[in-house]
Amino acid sequence: MVEYLKKIVSETLKSWESGFIAFHLQRITGLLVLVYLFLHIGVLRAIVGGEAVYQQRIGLITSPVFKFFEWLLLFTVLFHTLNGVRILLVDFFGMVRLQKPLFWIVAALTALVLVVSIPEFFTFLY
């Protein structure tokens, strides 16, 4: 396992290839979405403790720091979804030779939505 991780890190740093980067990001964002799922349930679970506990917990996650995390979550979900569509197009609809342009379309769309959503998430800034 350690050998494998070492190899994957050194090989990635040696050559930046869009397909390989997408492969990594798909795995990392997939794990993050899973972690988020548990956090999400953990927070909402506070409802069992009554209204006061719930309000307090919700208050916690509307703080600026959490807003920032929420914005990162948007990236995570967005990239994972769009790249999932890319993989589907490549794998199921035979667009193998278009994988690079498709990756850049995914990256551009993700970046666009992230930028456009800044005013939504960072209301406390202005």
């Binding site: 040696k14 397909g19 490549v90 193998v96 994988q99």
Partner: protein, 232 residues
Amino acid sequence: MERVFRIRRFDPDKDSKPYYSEYRFDAPRGMTVLEALFYIIENVDPSLSFRYNCRAAVCGSCGMEINGKHRLACATQVSELKGDVVIEPLPGLRVVKDLVVDMDDFFNKFLVVKPYLIRKTPPPQKEILQSPEERKELDPYIYCIMCACCSSSCPVTWSRSTYLTPSVFVKAWRFVADSRDEAKEEHLAGVNSEDGVWRCHTAFRCVEACPKDINPTSAIVNLRRKLAFSRG
């Protein structure tokens, strides 16, 4: 122009871990990386080991990692590489010595797809005919020289040693797509397993690595489609 060559060395009998040897010499225009390696063993350090045969990009012996990319040493000009030339053995394969890797496992994997033309009908009087269009179907898969550049660059190969690897799929597709072959199911059966085409994660490293410009992922996707639609 003087160039610096840093080569990863490792002799399992002597060394406890790999190290890099550095060589500096003038690399004239037109010198390939393989010729640079010859220069080193002839003039500087005869203890260096590497594999080669044809020197013309047809035998597939000289696959190695050059400046982070998997290439054939005989088909790579030193002048096209920027900065120091770092030469390492292909990753994911056991190092026998220096740049020589153990290819046994890699070659044995091919057997499962029966990498030869299978005929069920008796041979015709003359040759088995194939139209130019049918022959075109096999391009470019037929150009695979089994150098292991694609297979050793695949992250799935690193994590699972039994994975059949992209080159095996290229070979399988080369026969499945061949109009003269009469046992497509037999080639397909070889790749229809847990270690077969279904384990590809489309990281496209094999496509980037292939020195012959083959697209192994498209062979994999074609095989997957064939398998998916051939089930009753």
